[in-house]
Subunit: 209 residues, 2 copies
DNA sequence: TCGGCGGGTAAACAAACGTTTTAAACTTAC
DNA sequence: GTAAGTTTAAAACGTTTGTTTACCCGCCGA
């Protein structure tokens, strides 16, 4: 078994388990046994459990943010930037940039939800330090797309929207049950997004479509 | 030291630490040492750590839900139920029903955020079993207040709104830093609510105020 | 006065955790 | 072919965890 293979298998197992049970509740032994590698391999390749967590996010976010940055510049240079264009672009990227769509996207959202609701902010500060730049780029384009909304209002509405998105998508499975029972509708990430986009757009604009 | 005193001190310490560091990351030793009681007292009075977590929520939610149920009936019998009336009623209750306003409300929101983002759903199913009834009451009144919104749309929008509320309010402290720096505005729960209510109302109505 | 009983405590428990150490197996280069 | 370096394997390390045990104290009814 080559080196890169072991690293990849650890990351694959880790991201699934972290999304399923949380960071603190997932032991290295569970990860390595699911990955079919030795326990010591994690500390050998990553140094520590916390570094493994970061590596999981890194493998996810780095390509995503690069693609986002490119698409963002495309959109900006295209001339007319509307709120809807920006939102659909971001959501398409989040849902479809990874090959096997729904499974992977779901894991990504659950990880994000975990990262943000975790009280100790080691991970959040690390994320901000590494990926804050792209976030600011998106925010700048967003601001230009709704020039009527005052900056502070926009600041708040963005956070409300983020909450709606992450919270809903990371809790998708439990919603699955209710939705199936009450409305006989199967829930997928893209299905949710259809409902979510108008909600966010309306919220950002401030109740006036 | 009387019995109720020990139980109360454990609950007080536990709710603060749980909100600060999360359930899994808070040890019984940390709780008991903060509370100034013996380690074994937790298992003696509550049976297990999980039962303690439930007890913390129970002490919070039971009076809140009772008050909510009363106010809800008041509102219903008053005749004209508007969305805004319902939302301000709920938010006032959540913010002000506990004596020492901001500290306690913040802890409550952080605990809710933790409960909902926790992957294993022991806690969530327990909460639903115990307090789902009041939630359904609110939902019924809400539905009556916006008769134009189809049930399934409303279902989704409620969850989006819940996400916005819980996510934002449970991450208040980190927002504090940013808001202070960029806008020189101190963040309180009630201040957030001023921004949050129009956002939620707009979102529920579906972009049309 | 005695006996039991609920509340409280110190000490110990087994289990699980992240991490480190040891050595064996493999790859690579000369 | 052998030595150096890299990766895997198994075992043990020292902590920390939630929980349990055994004992002590003060009280109340008999």
């Amino acid at each position: 078994m080559s080196q890169s293979d072991t690293v990849k298998r650890i990351l694959d197992a880790a991201e699934v388990l972290f999304a399923q049970k949380g960071f603190a509740e997932t032991s290295l032994r569970a990860i390595t046994s699911k990955a079919g590698v030795n326990l010591a391999a994690v500390n050998y390749h990553f140094g520590s459990k916390e570094a493994l967590v970061q590596a999981v996010f890194e493998r996810y976010l780095t390509p995503f943010c690069q693609a986002l940055s490119v698409k963002l510049k495309e959109l900006e240079s295209s001339g007319d930037v509307t709120l809807e264009k920006l939102l659909t672009m971001v959501s398409r990227l989040a849902l479809g940039s990874h090959g096997d769509e729904p499974r992977r996207a779901m894991i990504f959202f659950r990880l994000s939800g975990q990262a943000y609701s975790q009280p100790q902010n080691h991970l959040r500060t690390w994320l901000r330090a590494h990926y804050g730049e792209v976030f600011r780029q998106v925010l700048a384009v967003l601001r230009a797309s709704v020039p009527d909304v005052p900056p502070m209002e926009l600041f708040w509405r963005v956070h409300f929207s983020l909450g709606a998105v992450i919270f809903t998508l990371s809790g998708m499975e439990s919603l699955q049950t209710i939705s199936k029972k009450d409305f006989n509708e199967t829930v997928t990430a893209s299905r949710i997004t259809e409902h979510l986009l108008p909600f966010v757009a309306g919220g950002i604009r401030g109740g006036r479509a």
